[in-house]
Symmetry: C2
Subunit: 159 residues, 2 copies
DNA sequence: TATTGTTATACTCTATAACTATA
DNA sequence: TATAGTTATAGAGTATAACAATA
Protein backbone atom coordinates (compact mmCIF):
# COMPACT_ATOMS: atom_id res chain seq x y z
CA UNK A 1 0.00 0.00 0.00
CA UNK A 2 2.29 2.78 -1.18
CA UNK A 3 1.55 6.28 0.05
CA UNK A 4 -0.88 4.86 2.50
CA UNK A 5 -0.44 3.29 5.90
CA UNK A 6 2.50 2.01 7.89
CA UNK A 7 5.95 1.25 6.66
CA UNK A 8 6.43 -2.29 7.85
CA UNK A 9 9.73 -4.09 7.87
CA UNK A 10 11.83 -0.96 7.97
CA UNK A 11 14.90 -1.60 10.08
CA UNK A 12 13.76 1.24 12.27
CA UNK A 13 12.40 -0.75 15.19
CA UNK A 14 15.80 -2.30 15.91
CA UNK A 15 17.67 0.99 15.61
CA UNK A 16 19.23 2.14 18.87
CA UNK A 17 19.15 5.83 18.02
CA UNK A 18 15.48 5.63 17.11
CA UNK A 19 14.66 3.83 20.37
CA UNK A 20 16.59 6.31 22.50
CA UNK A 21 14.93 9.23 20.74
CA UNK A 22 11.43 7.87 21.24
CA UNK A 23 11.92 6.77 24.83
CA UNK A 24 13.44 10.12 25.65
CA UNK A 25 10.59 12.11 24.16
CA UNK A 26 8.00 9.77 25.64
CA UNK A 27 9.52 10.22 29.07
CA UNK A 28 9.47 13.97 28.65
CA UNK A 29 5.81 13.73 27.71
CA UNK A 30 4.73 11.68 30.72
CA UNK A 31 6.97 13.61 33.14
CA UNK A 32 5.99 17.11 32.05
CA UNK A 33 2.90 17.20 34.19
CA UNK A 34 4.77 15.96 37.27
CA UNK A 35 7.35 18.73 37.13
CA UNK A 36 4.99 21.41 35.79
CA UNK A 37 4.83 23.38 39.04
CA UNK A 38 8.60 23.29 39.53
CA UNK A 39 10.22 26.50 38.24
CA UNK A 40 12.79 25.10 35.83
CA UNK A 41 10.94 21.89 35.14
CA UNK A 42 12.75 18.57 34.80
CA UNK A 43 16.18 20.10 35.27
CA UNK A 44 15.12 21.73 38.53
CA UNK A 45 13.97 18.33 39.75
CA UNK A 46 17.42 16.88 39.11
CA UNK A 47 18.98 19.77 41.03
CA UNK A 48 16.71 19.21 44.02
CA UNK A 49 17.45 15.47 44.03
CA UNK A 50 21.17 16.17 44.03
CA UNK A 51 20.81 18.74 46.82
CA UNK A 52 18.66 16.50 49.03
CA UNK A 53 21.49 14.02 49.30
CA UNK A 54 24.51 15.32 51.14
CA UNK A 55 26.62 18.38 51.93
CA UNK A 56 25.79 21.70 50.24
CA UNK A 57 27.81 21.85 47.02
CA UNK A 58 29.08 24.84 45.11
CA UNK A 59 27.18 25.75 41.97
CA UNK A 60 29.94 24.28 39.85
CA UNK A 61 30.03 20.99 41.75
CA UNK A 62 26.26 20.86 41.47
CA UNK A 63 26.38 21.52 37.74
CA UNK A 64 28.84 18.67 37.27
CA UNK A 65 26.76 16.32 39.42
CA UNK A 66 23.64 16.77 37.32
CA UNK A 67 25.51 17.17 34.01
CA UNK A 68 24.25 20.67 33.32
CA UNK A 69 26.23 23.64 32.12
CA UNK A 70 27.19 26.14 34.83
CA UNK A 71 25.59 28.92 32.80
CA UNK A 72 22.30 27.03 32.95
CA UNK A 73 22.76 26.50 36.66
CA UNK A 74 22.84 30.24 37.28
CA UNK A 75 19.35 31.09 36.08
CA UNK A 76 17.97 27.73 37.21
CA UNK A 77 19.02 28.58 40.76
CA UNK A 78 17.81 32.16 40.35
CA UNK A 79 14.38 30.74 39.65
CA UNK A 80 14.46 28.15 42.43
CA UNK A 81 15.70 30.72 44.95
CA UNK A 82 12.98 33.17 43.96
CA UNK A 83 10.46 30.46 44.83
CA UNK A 84 12.32 29.72 48.10
CA UNK A 85 13.04 26.11 47.20
CA UNK A 86 16.79 26.63 47.57
CA UNK A 87 19.05 29.25 49.14
CA UNK A 88 22.58 30.36 48.28
CA UNK A 89 25.17 31.48 50.79
CA UNK A 90 28.83 32.40 50.38
CA UNK A 91 31.39 29.65 50.91
CA UNK A 92 33.50 30.76 53.93
CA UNK A 93 36.48 28.93 52.44
CA UNK A 94 36.32 30.45 48.93
CA UNK A 95 34.84 33.85 48.42
CA UNK A 96 34.29 33.21 44.71
CA UNK A 97 31.97 30.27 45.38
CA UNK A 98 28.41 30.04 46.62
CA UNK A 99 27.04 27.02 48.43
CA UNK A 100 23.57 25.83 47.48
CA UNK A 101 21.15 24.54 50.10
CA UNK A 102 17.73 23.01 49.70
CA UNK A 103 15.04 24.53 51.95
CA UNK A 104 12.36 22.68 53.88
CA UNK A 105 9.88 23.93 51.31
CA UNK A 106 12.14 22.51 48.64
CA UNK A 107 12.26 19.12 50.31
CA UNK A 108 8.51 19.02 50.66
CA UNK A 109 8.02 19.94 47.01
CA UNK A 110 10.62 17.37 45.98
CA UNK A 111 8.71 14.63 47.79
CA UNK A 112 5.53 15.53 45.95
CA UNK A 113 7.26 15.55 42.57
CA UNK A 114 9.07 12.32 43.30
CA UNK A 115 5.81 10.57 44.02
CA UNK A 116 4.13 11.96 40.94
CA UNK A 117 7.12 11.00 38.79
CA UNK A 118 7.03 7.43 40.07
CA UNK A 119 3.51 7.12 38.73
CA UNK A 120 4.51 8.63 35.39
CA UNK A 121 7.46 6.27 35.06
CA UNK A 122 5.24 3.31 35.72
CA UNK A 123 3.01 4.49 32.92
CA UNK A 124 5.98 4.75 30.57
CA UNK A 125 7.14 1.21 31.36
CA UNK A 126 3.64 -0.19 31.47
CA UNK A 127 4.36 -2.93 28.94
CA UNK A 128 7.32 -4.28 30.90
CA UNK A 129 6.92 -6.67 33.80
CA UNK A 130 8.68 -5.92 37.09
CA UNK A 131 11.80 -7.85 36.20
CA UNK A 132 12.21 -6.24 32.77
CA UNK A 133 11.53 -2.77 34.10
CA UNK A 134 14.13 -3.20 36.81
CA UNK A 135 16.57 -4.57 34.25
CA UNK A 136 16.06 -1.60 31.96
CA UNK A 137 16.56 0.87 34.81
CA UNK A 138 19.74 -0.87 35.88
CA UNK A 139 21.26 -1.04 32.40
CA UNK A 140 20.36 2.57 31.60
CA UNK A 141 21.92 3.73 34.86
CA UNK A 142 25.10 1.82 34.14
CA UNK A 143 25.45 3.36 30.68
CA UNK A 144 24.59 6.78 32.11
CA UNK A 145 27.28 6.55 34.77
CA UNK A 146 30.02 5.67 32.30
CA UNK A 147 28.74 8.34 29.92
CA UNK A 148 28.97 10.93 32.64
CA UNK A 149 32.45 9.82 33.58
CA UNK A 150 33.56 10.05 29.96
CA UNK A 151 32.07 13.49 29.45
CA UNK A 152 33.20 15.02 32.73
CA UNK A 153 36.81 13.84 32.70
CA UNK A 154 38.17 14.45 29.19
CA UNK A 155 41.07 16.54 30.57
CA UNK A 156 41.38 14.80 33.91
CA UNK A 157 42.35 11.60 32.13
CA UNK A 158 45.88 10.24 32.18
CA UNK A 159 47.26 12.28 29.33
CA UNK B 1 34.00 18.15 51.46
CA UNK B 2 31.43 20.88 50.87
CA UNK B 3 31.88 23.07 47.85
CA UNK B 4 34.51 20.73 46.58
CA UNK B 5 34.33 17.45 44.71
CA UNK B 6 31.61 14.97 43.95
CA UNK B 7 28.20 14.70 45.53
CA UNK B 8 28.12 11.10 46.60
CA UNK B 9 25.03 9.28 47.69
CA UNK B 10 22.62 11.58 45.93
CA UNK B 11 19.68 9.55 44.66
CA UNK B 12 20.58 10.71 41.20
CA UNK B 13 22.23 7.56 39.90
CA UNK B 14 19.04 5.54 40.33
CA UNK B 15 16.83 8.20 38.74
CA UNK B 16 15.26 7.12 35.46
CA UNK B 17 14.95 10.62 34.05
CA UNK B 18 18.58 11.34 34.78
CA UNK B 19 19.68 8.11 33.12
CA UNK B 20 17.59 8.72 30.02
CA UNK B 21 18.89 12.28 29.73
CA UNK B 22 22.52 11.23 29.99
CA UNK B 23 22.25 8.24 27.68
CA UNK B 24 20.43 10.36 25.16
CA UNK B 25 23.02 13.11 25.14
CA UNK B 26 25.88 10.62 25.19
CA UNK B 27 24.43 8.88 22.17
CA UNK B 28 24.11 12.19 20.37
CA UNK B 29 27.74 12.89 21.17
CA UNK B 30 29.10 9.60 19.84
CA UNK B 31 26.77 9.58 16.83
CA UNK B 32 27.35 13.15 15.70
CA UNK B 33 30.50 12.32 13.80
CA UNK B 34 28.85 9.38 12.04
CA UNK B 35 26.01 11.45 10.66
CA UNK B 36 28.03 14.62 10.16
CA UNK B 37 28.11 14.43 6.36
CA UNK B 38 24.38 13.68 6.12
CA UNK B 39 22.42 16.84 5.39
CA UNK B 40 19.89 16.81 8.23
CA UNK B 41 22.04 14.77 10.59
CA UNK B 42 20.56 12.09 12.82
CA UNK B 43 17.02 12.71 11.62
CA UNK B 44 18.02 12.30 8.00
CA UNK B 45 19.54 8.96 8.92
CA UNK B 46 16.23 7.78 10.35
CA UNK B 47 14.46 8.88 7.18
CA UNK B 48 16.88 6.95 4.99
CA UNK B 49 16.51 3.83 7.14
CA UNK B 50 12.74 4.02 6.83
CA UNK B 51 12.95 4.55 3.06
CA UNK B 52 15.38 1.70 2.48
CA UNK B 53 12.80 -0.77 3.75
CA UNK B 54 9.76 -1.08 1.54
CA UNK B 55 7.39 0.74 -0.77
CA UNK B 56 7.84 4.49 -1.30
CA UNK B 57 5.69 6.23 1.31
CA UNK B 58 4.06 9.63 1.21
CA UNK B 59 5.75 12.36 3.23
CA UNK B 60 3.07 12.08 5.87
CA UNK B 61 3.38 8.31 6.20
CA UNK B 62 7.13 8.77 6.40
CA UNK B 63 6.81 11.41 9.09
CA UNK B 64 4.63 9.10 11.16
CA UNK B 65 7.01 6.18 10.69
CA UNK B 66 10.00 8.06 12.07
CA UNK B 67 7.98 10.09 14.60
CA UNK B 68 8.86 13.47 13.14
CA UNK B 69 6.56 16.36 12.48
CA UNK B 70 5.43 16.74 8.87
CA UNK B 71 6.70 20.34 8.90
CA UNK B 72 10.15 19.05 9.76
CA UNK B 73 9.87 16.45 7.04
CA UNK B 74 9.46 19.13 4.39
CA UNK B 75 12.80 20.86 4.78
CA UNK B 76 14.55 17.64 5.75
CA UNK B 77 13.55 16.19 2.37
CA UNK B 78 14.38 19.46 0.63
CA UNK B 79 17.91 19.06 1.92
CA UNK B 80 18.17 15.36 1.11
CA UNK B 81 16.79 15.89 -2.37
CA UNK B 82 19.21 18.75 -3.03
CA UNK B 83 22.00 16.29 -2.27
CA UNK B 84 20.35 13.64 -4.47
CA UNK B 85 19.96 11.14 -1.65
CA UNK B 86 16.19 10.97 -2.15
CA UNK B 87 13.72 11.97 -4.88
CA UNK B 88 10.10 12.99 -4.70
CA UNK B 89 7.50 12.22 -7.33
CA UNK B 90 3.77 12.84 -7.45
CA UNK B 91 1.49 10.05 -6.26
CA UNK B 92 -0.58 9.01 -9.31
CA UNK B 93 -3.46 8.11 -7.00
CA UNK B 94 -3.55 11.38 -5.02
CA UNK B 95 -2.39 14.59 -6.56
CA UNK B 96 -1.93 16.22 -3.17
CA UNK B 97 0.65 13.65 -2.08
CA UNK B 98 4.26 13.10 -3.03
CA UNK B 99 6.00 9.74 -2.82
CA UNK B 100 9.51 9.67 -1.44
CA UNK B 101 12.15 7.37 -2.93
CA UNK B 102 15.69 6.70 -1.82
CA UNK B 103 18.28 6.93 -4.60
CA UNK B 104 21.20 4.61 -5.21
CA UNK B 105 23.47 7.34 -3.88
CA UNK B 106 21.25 7.47 -0.82
CA UNK B 107 21.53 3.74 -0.26
CA UNK B 108 25.30 3.85 -0.58
CA UNK B 109 25.54 6.71 1.87
CA UNK B 110 23.18 4.94 4.26
CA UNK B 111 25.40 1.88 4.29
CA UNK B 112 28.42 3.99 5.20
CA UNK B 113 26.59 5.77 7.99
CA UNK B 114 25.13 2.52 9.29
CA UNK B 115 28.57 1.02 9.62
CA UNK B 116 29.99 4.09 11.29
CA UNK B 117 27.05 4.22 13.68
CA UNK B 118 27.53 0.60 14.67
CA UNK B 119 31.02 1.46 15.84
CA UNK B 120 29.77 4.49 17.75
CA UNK B 121 27.05 2.46 19.44
CA UNK B 122 29.57 -0.12 20.52
CA UNK B 123 31.59 2.67 22.08
CA UNK B 124 28.53 3.91 23.94
CA UNK B 125 27.76 0.47 25.35
CA UNK B 126 31.38 -0.40 25.94
CA UNK B 127 30.85 -1.27 29.62
CA UNK B 128 28.11 -3.79 28.85
CA UNK B 129 28.84 -7.34 27.82
CA UNK B 130 27.13 -8.78 24.74
CA UNK B 131 24.17 -10.15 26.66
CA UNK B 132 23.49 -6.94 28.58
CA UNK B 133 23.89 -4.79 25.48
CA UNK B 134 21.41 -6.94 23.59
CA UNK B 135 19.05 -6.85 26.55
CA UNK B 136 19.19 -3.07 26.72
CA UNK B 137 18.53 -2.72 22.99
CA UNK B 138 15.57 -5.07 23.20
CA UNK B 139 13.97 -3.38 26.19
CA UNK B 140 14.48 0.11 24.79
CA UNK B 141 12.91 -0.95 21.50
CA UNK B 142 9.91 -2.41 23.27
CA UNK B 143 9.30 0.77 25.24
CA UNK B 144 9.87 2.83 22.10
CA UNK B 145 7.29 0.86 20.13
CA UNK B 146 4.59 1.28 22.75
CA UNK B 147 5.53 4.94 23.14
CA UNK B 148 5.12 5.48 19.41
CA UNK B 149 1.81 3.68 19.39
CA UNK B 150 0.56 5.83 22.27
CA UNK B 151 1.67 9.08 20.69
CA UNK B 152 0.49 8.33 17.16
CA UNK B 153 -2.98 7.03 17.92
CA UNK B 154 -4.58 9.39 20.46
CA UNK B 155 -7.57 10.01 18.19
CA UNK B 156 -7.55 6.67 16.40
CA UNK B 157 -8.32 4.96 19.69
CA UNK B 158 -11.74 3.54 20.52
CA UNK B 159 -13.38 6.79 21.56
C1' DT C 1 47.36 32.57 35.30
C1' DA C 2 43.26 29.79 36.55
C1' DT C 3 38.60 29.39 38.57
C1' DT C 4 33.56 30.78 40.13
C1' DG C 5 29.70 32.84 38.89
C1' DT C 6 27.28 35.84 35.65
C1' DT C 7 25.60 37.75 31.27
C1' DA C 8 24.89 37.74 26.37
C1' DT C 9 24.50 35.39 22.04
C1' DA C 10 23.61 31.92 18.68
C1' DC C 11 22.23 27.58 17.04
C1' DT C 12 19.37 23.35 17.10
C1' DC C 13 15.16 21.07 17.97
C1' DT C 14 10.33 21.22 18.68
C1' DA C 15 5.55 22.91 18.44
C1' DT C 16 1.97 25.62 16.39
C1' DA C 17 -0.67 28.17 13.25
C1' DA C 18 -1.85 29.55 8.72
C1' DC C 19 -1.80 29.04 3.80
C1' DT C 20 -2.38 26.25 -1.06
C1' DA C 21 -3.96 22.67 -3.64
C1' DT C 22 -6.32 18.97 -3.80
C1' DA C 23 -9.85 15.28 -2.09
C1' DT D 1 -15.16 19.73 5.32
C1' DA D 2 -10.87 17.28 5.67
C1' DT D 3 -6.15 16.08 4.13
C1' DA D 4 -1.01 16.66 1.99
C1' DG D 5 2.43 19.62 1.71
C1' DT D 6 4.49 24.12 2.59
C1' DT D 7 5.87 28.33 5.04
C1' DA D 8 6.58 31.24 9.00
C1' DT D 9 7.11 31.97 13.86
C1' DA D 10 7.91 31.22 18.67
C1' DG D 11 9.76 28.54 22.43
C1' DA D 12 12.78 25.34 24.92
C1' DG D 13 17.34 23.37 25.27
C1' DT D 14 22.15 23.63 24.45
C1' DA D 15 26.76 25.54 23.57
C1' DT D 16 30.09 29.24 23.53
C1' DA D 17 32.40 33.44 24.49
C1' DA D 18 33.36 37.20 27.35
C1' DC D 19 33.42 39.61 31.75
C1' DA D 20 34.14 40.67 37.09
C1' DA D 21 35.72 38.98 41.36
C1' DT D 22 38.74 36.04 43.58
C1' DA D 23 42.29 32.35 44.10
Amino acid sequence: MPGGGDIAGSGLDTDLGWAIRLVSSAFRRVATESVADLPGGARAYLVLVALAGGEPPSQLALAKAVSLDRTVMTYLLDDLEAHELVTRRPDPRDRRARLVLITDTGRARLDQVRHSLAVAETRLLTDLDDHDAHQLRTLLSRVARTAQRDSVAPDEADC
